[in-house]
């Protein structure tokens, strides 16, 4: 899906915890999500910390969308105390 969108020239930041599978299927800008059932958040965190995690991920997605790449790339970032779960 993401691949077909990039095919028409629209960059896609694909947020997923399955980054290798995404690369295998031809995604170009892959953003490492938190976990398969909750890619954009951390249910165990307080509401405030969860929001920080989500802001970090969307910030990274915006960075990915603005990065010129010549080959597929995984964008990953430290989520503070929740990084250990990655």
């Amino acid at each position: 899906m993401a691949k077909e969108i990039e095919r028409v020239g629209i960059p896609v930041a694909l947020i997923t915890a399955l980054e290798l599978l995404a690369l295998h299927h031809g995604a170009n800008r892959v953003v490492k999500g938190v976990a398969i059932p909750h890619p954009c958040g951390e249910p165990e965190a307080s509401a405030e910390d969860d929001l920080k995690v989500r802001r970090t991920i969307i910030d990274l997605a915006l960075e990915a969308l603005q990065t010129e790449i010549v080959e597929p790339k995984v964008f990953a970032r430290d989520f503070g105390v929740y990084t250990a779960k990655l």
Binding site: M1, A2, K3, E4, I5, E6, R7, V8, G9, I10, P11, V12, A13, L14, I15, T16, L18, A22, H24, H25, G26, N28, R29, G33, I36, P37, H38, P39, C40, G41, P43, D50, L51, R54, R55, I57, I58, D59, A61, L62, L65, Q66, T67, E68, I69, V70, E71, P72
Partner: protein, 358 residues
């Protein structure tokens, strides 16, 4: 079961005994009865004690088909119409590229246009095999052969056995069991052991270095798309949210199923700053949706996207988000829907996509 069946046999000019390269430009012709490997194929059918008759042989020059495929295919289909075949056998083409191409193009067209099973055979590296995998035609089957014609007897035997099965209307099993070349078509079948048992068997086989077969082969990506250019000015960019997470409005108005959906939708988020639990839920049947149902922003991160929009981090958010199927979709459907969504995004002037996948 069938009382009797009519088979038409297709050969190139060489195997039909018409000539070699000097005859490769001749157009399609019919010969009554048995030509070239025809008698052996007929005998192989007779071993099954059924009334199966090769009623005619159609042959055509390799170059004629290669150089004007559309015209040649139409001519062959026209010749076949009067012969009313129940099954069309083509080849085997072995390692011959042009012959393999001809068998596959004809087999694909004939099976579709005449609603007839087609059966061919060729070497694994024959370029016809690539076409076969691309067409994924459920009425076209190909058996593996040797590179050279030394494997003729075995190929005819295998085609005859499988041809009888096709004509009998018996259910056809997966490629690994039936012996034909697989073309990545997935279908339901009844397994003796459940998934947990099969996966443990597979794991043990792997640990012991024994052979095993995966049930879902991952295809190598032979159609890579180069990265799209980066967004030049994010502050004016329109960004769309797209998701495979199954997130839909309460009540699931478009009746998305738990898996294998073949359509996509867009739902308005124009007036919204967040997706509230209870108002939205996930219809995806292939992951634990407990977390995203409690906080739909885990799947469609509208709350943060809206904050970023208001903070001027990017231009604006598209008025709708897109839900595309992610649970056990057929690849062919996924590609079609991906292209449809891409066209829609383009039309709306979307500059970039944040795509969430569970």
């Amino acid at each position: 079961m069938f009382a009797e069946a009519r088979v038409v046999y297709f050969l190139n000019q060489f195997f039909a005994g018409v000539g070699g390269e000097e005859k490769a430009n001749i157009g399609p012709h019919i010969k009554e009865g048995l030509v070239g490997p025809g008698p052996s194929l007929q005998k192989a059918f007779e071993n099954y004690g059924k009334n199966i008759n090769i009623v005619a042989t159609v042959y055509c020059g390799d170059n004629y088909i290669g150089e004007q495929t559309e015209k040649a295919v139409a001519e062959v289909v026209e010749l076949l119409a009067d012969l009313k075949p129940d099954l069309v056998v083509l080849g085997p083409a072995f390692g011959s590229g042009r012959y393999g191409y001809a068998c596959m193009e004809l087999g694909n067209a004939i099976s579709k246009q005449m609603d007839t099973f087609c059966l061919t055979a060729m070497y694994s590296e024959n370029p016809g095999i690539e076409l076969y995998k691309k067409y994924q035609n459920e009425k076209l089957f190909c058996f593996p052969t040797t590179d050279k014609a030394t494997g003729m007897a075995r190929a005819l035997e295998e085609m005859a056995a499988f041809g009888v099965k096709l004509l009998s209307g018996e259910p056809i099993g997966p490629a690994e069991l039936e012996g034909y070349v697989g073309r990545n078509i997935r279908g339901p079948w009844i397994a003796e052991k459940n998934g947990a048992e099969r996966s443990i068997d597979m794991l043990l086989a792997r640990i012991h270095g024994s052979p095993f077969l995966t049930e879902i082969a991952l295809k190598d990506d032979d159609d890579a798309v180069a990265p799209a250019p980066a967004v030049k000015d994010i502050t004016t960019a329109q960004i769309a949210l797209v998701t495979t997470s199954g997130m839909v409005p309460k009540g699931n108005p478009d009746k998305f199923r738990l898996s294998d959906n073949s359509f996509w939708r867009q739902y308005s988020i124009k007036q919204l700053d967040t997706l509230v639990a209870g108002e939205w839920f996930s219809t995806h049947g292939r992951y634990n949706t407990f977390f995203v149902d409690k906080n739909p922003n885990f799947a469609v991160p509208l709350d943060v996207a809206r904050q970023f929009e208001q903070e001027g981090r990017f231009g604006r958010l598209t008025d709708d988000y897109y839900i595309v199927p992610g649970a056990s979709s057929q690849m062919v459907n996924a590609i079609r829907m991906g292209a449809e969504v891409a066209a829609d995004l383009k039309e709306r002037g979307v500059n970039a996509v944040i795509f969430t996948s569970t």
